[in-house]
Amino acid sequence: MEAIVLQLLSGLDGGSAYALIALGLTLIFGTLGVVNFAHGALFMIGSFCTVVLQRILSSSYTIIDESQKDFLGNPLKVQVPYMQDWFGEAASASIIDWSVPLAIIFAIPVMLVIGIVMERGLIKHFYKRPHADQILVTFGLAIVLQEIIKYFFGANPIPAPAPDAFKGSFDFGQLLGFEANRIIYPYWRLVYFGFAALIITGVFAFLQFTTFGMVVRAGMADRETVGLLGIDIDKRFTMMFGLAAVVAGLAGVMYTPINSPNYHMGMDFLVISFVVVVVGGMGSLPGAVLAGFVLGILQSFASMREVIEFLPGINQVVIYLAAIVILLTRPRGLLGKRGVMED
């Protein structure tokens, strides 16, 4: 029982990341009909927003402190963050400590601009081209974005730790009435799951309860009719692309303490996210979220020792296996609608 709860919990944070990326992918596909291979790159850029903010916050100048000496007896050079001069020592330390959550504020405008520029500058010209061309051009874009990041930040992962308040883990089992120290769960993973749930709810609420969202949903159902009603649907779809980029970026920002940002993390997540989208059903937003969590939890169960002993290697392939089985038995995916990318 404890093992099952533990696997469920550890499946949730991986599942959250899959669900967030798949949600963005589906938003883009559902509105614009474009298969965006560069979506993983957006996730990665989100992660690097954290790195950039961390560097900005801790940017410092050097002073020579005469009161301290190093072991040779020379005056010690001390790095003083600019923050310290502005906000005082304690406040600046906690600002730097909280740079990951703060990066959310920083990442939203950045990702929005990147998303809108991407859609207006490149993807717009590919609506009338075949799906294969869309896949290929976004694949090329993904390579370019990845290499630019690699050029500026290097090939090695850059650690971006969570705030001290969220370091360590807590005993989740005792909460549920199990023995102590049986189910231990890191705080940050719980934060990540909560954050993902918040974003997903936010996106759904936005689509469901605002006029803008209603128009977008109408456009997803029948773009031409909405256009005929005199609504500039292209503009709204562009905004949705920006929103999808923001979702991917925020997923990346909050993922940095779990997985240090490196330039190829986007590609690693992208392949699985595509599988998630296809399993959930192309164009179905609830399907993407559901499939994200289902596959995340499935993967976590497959990495249990008992399962691996029984079926070696299953943890490596279970997601792909699930995708193959689902595509062959339920071609439209879990919650896919009739008529969306049928062929």
Partner: protein, 399 residues
């Protein structure tokens, strides 16, 4: 000639000419001149030109003709490599059984994968092939370690049985050979400042590539090829005429899988080791890029694309900061620094960026690839004959 139309015969002869004289064509600069780093005439690289040429030709039979975009073709190449190394380990160092086994195993695998994946088309097909390839990669790197060597890769060792071939000679692992003709033996020809190398392995691969190219032309101009093009144009209509298109797509898939296996077999025949990273999905993406860059659906396109990518990979990635500084040394200081910084982004370690940018530009402006580019140039000088186009395009990678 050879059952080809006149135009295709000329194309075949062009390819034969290019691969036969590649040691000269790829080494246009004297060995000690400053331009020598643009020479690509060393055996290792030339072998890769033709091997990836075969891979791309095979991929083009599937993607170019039927329009099915497979994102998992590297799996067949990887499996072919493993099969080839196992033949070396078990039977002996003759390359023929190794290559035959590679093609066969890759063919069998592609029947299975193709049968499953081809139930879907479009983006679903791409994802399914991707899923299969990633699965094979994950398995090869972890559970199947006894067969695949895991992450270190599969290599030959002195204790291999080699029941047909000679046992280890004086304690060294024997090298792959074609009935005694060693693949790695190279004849160096020095003429003036130039030095040309003629490598047995290269010519072995080149002959196979010409045969593979010939087979692909035959497929392109056959009724079977016409059927595949019909599938690309409008599969629904084809189905409404009462024709089951799946056997045709499966045949195309298996043929292209066998081409990939052949490429894998040749790869290990040149260098007898195989690793799981050959099956990683970026490797599949690479062959997609090659085919598109050259021109999907054209006969010579994939060959040009493979050559262009491999040339870029080797030559551009060799240009480092020191070389750039030397190039721009004549400029004023600040300008030199700016130029070096900008170019450094795209050369050396940054060559993937060049690749991505070139690939995007091709997709955006030249969906037909280098071949279309050649045709457009031809359109500008319309007096030129039709056959000049491929050769114009062929020269681009070597510049």
């Amino acid at each position: 000639m050879f059952g080809l139309t006149a135009k295709n015969t000329r194309l075949l002869f062009l390819v034969i000419f290019l691969v036969a004289f590649a040691p000269f064509l790829m080494n246009p600069f004297p060995a000690d001149s400053a331009m020598a780093q643009f020479n690509a005439g060393y055996p290792d690289l030339m072998q890769r030109f033709v091997i990836f040429g075969i891979f791309a030709i095979g991929f083009n039979i599937l993607f170019g003709l039927t329009g099915y975009l497979s994102f998992g073709h590297a799996a067949f190449l990887g499996v072919g490599s493993y099969a080839g190394v196992w033949m070396f380990k078990l039977l002996g160092m003759n390359v023929i059984p190794a290559i035959a086994a590679s093609v066969l195993v890759a063919g069998l695998l592609s029947v299975v994968i193709g049968y499953i994946c081809l139930r879907r088309s479009g983006i679903y097909f791409s994802i399914l092939t991707l899923a299969f390839a990633q699965m094979m990669f994950a398995l090869a790197a972890s559970v199947l370690t006894p067969i695949t060597g895991g992450e270190t890769g599969l290599t030959l060792s002195l204790s291999d049985p080699r029941i047909l071939g000679a046992a280890a000679v004086d304690g060294n692992i024997p090298v792959p050979s074609f009935f005694g003709l060693e693949m790695r033996s190279t004849y160096e020809l020095a003429v003036g400042g130039w030095s040309f190398s003629f490598n047995t392995g290269y010519y072995f691969c080149a002959i196979i590539m010409v045969l593979a190219f010939y087979a692909s032309i035959r497929i392109f101009q056959s009724p079977f090829g016409l059927m595949l093009r019909a599938i690309k144009t409008n599969q629904t209509r084809l189905n409404y005429t009462g024709l089951n298109s799946r056997p045709y797509t499966l045949a195309a898939f298996v043929i292209s899988g066998m081409y990939a296996g052949l490429a894998g077999g040749l790869m290990v025949a040149m260098d007898p080791l195989a690793g799981a990273e050959r099956m990683f999905w970026t490797a599949s993406g690479e062959v997609v890029i090659m085919t598109i860059l050259g021109g999907a659906g054209t006969m010579i396109g994939p060959v040009l694309g493979a050559g262009a990518i491999k040339y870029m990979e080797n030559i551009v990635s060799k240009i480092n900061k020191a070389v750039l500084e030397q190039w721009f040394a004549f400029m004023p200081d600040g300008m030199e620094k700016a130029f070096v910084t900008v170019f450094d982004m795209f050369t050396g370690k940054g060559w993937h960026l060049t690749l991505g940018v070139v690939f995007m530009l091709v997709i955006i402006f030249l969906p037909g690839g280098l071949v279309e580019g050649g045709q457009r140039i031809k359109g500008l000088f319309s007096r030129k004959k039709a056959q000049d186009t491929p050769s114009d395009a062929a020269k681009t990678p070597a510049e």
